[in-house]
Symmetry: C2
Subunit: 262 residues, 2 copies
Amino acid sequence: MVVEQGDRLILITNDDGLYAAGLRTLLEIAEEFGKVVLISTMESMSGMSQALTVKNPIRVKLLEENEKHRIYTCNGTPTDSVKLAINQLTERMPDWLLSGINHGSNASVSVLYSGTMAAALEGCLYNIQSVGFSLNDFSSGADFTICKKYIRIILNSLTHNRLPEGVCLNVNIPSVPENEIRGIRVCRQAKGSWKEEFEKRKDPMGKTYYWLTGYFVNREPDATDTDEWALANNYVSIVPIQVDMTAHAFINELEKWFNNSK
Amino acid sequence: MVVEQGDRLILITNDDGLYAAGLRTLLEIAEEFGKVVLISTMESMSGMSQALTVKNPIRVKLLEENEKHRIYTCNGTPTDSVKLAINQLTERMPDWLLSGINHGSNASVSVLYSGTMAAALEGCLYNIQSVGFSLNDFSSGADFTICKKYIRIILNSLTHNRLPEGVCLNVNIPSVPENEIRGIRVCRQAKGSWKEEFEKRKDPMGKTYYWLTGYFVNREPDATDTDEWALANNYVSIVPIQVDMTAHAFINELEKWFNNSK
């Protein structure tokens, strides 16, 4: 079944808030591929992972509507936003869910904390073709124009390919001049972790508080098939990410632990 | 290397808050296996997933200290709590991280939203042996005594086995009388998803708001190797969960999408 461009319904969200430059760039490109429903929060929701709002009511507001798009804001997390949009705001199930463009990399284990990728995972739980995009630049002045070419390539490819059920894409784009980008690499998630360094401070009342800071350590810097290697070597990395978190390779071994207690 | 019981350092957290009955049951059992550092929030943090607190400072308070345990409370998410405890509160890297006992199942895709399992995943990012426990009963009056036998079996098994790097355990316990529990089953995460039904209401000012509700749909009810099947058939389910979310089986196919754009 071919979806005509004019018929394609695209849901967009992010975790950097409605006025993030990355979101505006993604909206501009997405409108070339279909009709857009965009939902985002007024404030940044970075690091929200797949959090849900269960103790507070969610409010939503239609901000803008024209032939190309409808723009909503709500007070929920990125995952709430996707659920609310699909269940209450779109006339039918969207064809695509695009999340981002995030200000900062979501490569390696950052996928576990990322609100951007949580929205994409939520999309594929609804069996929507879902992609999260991130630019490897945390700064508020990040230049998103270099993302456009590769996002177009990836979306073009989505027009005639289909992701399997329960799989979405984690796309990370290096922050270098466009002519230095060496192409696209399909990768696996690098092994690594964040090393935390809490900053301990005293408030004006003399009481201690902490700021969470930290830096990422790539535990396999020489492996050339990882997203971290691709980004560090000026490739656009694409990792297929799945909702099934089972460590299948360990099941047989684990069964031996409990053979006597069945 | 054998860790003596008296030397074993166990970090405990949960996402239901400090006064949850499930946390108290887990503390009681953990003290049989080592010295405990417990950190939890005053309020429930259900559905927080692996969210991080990046825009607000985190405060922590030592509430209780004796020979068996130290109990802290903090205002962060379960993931923040683990990071803060490991980096600021424990004298060395804990040997085990135990999370729960959650009030309600974290089987199937609930692992993606669960604060309980996020804490366990965070533990295994630090290469700590980590287990999340959940009882399949959301009610505040849930009876956690039936969990004790199986938690002891699992922790005993952890005293002489080792989880691979990047893998933790998701344990779900059926809420039935202990003599009806048929044993332990090592499983995979069932395919399923939450169907949302937002409840739309009007506030006293006449403005619309939504409550997130929903119910879980098991998309493979006949598969006998899943956690959902095990729970429904009165088995304790144990799923090994990994931090690597790569859909490895789809990498070759995905490479074909982009062969011409390299």
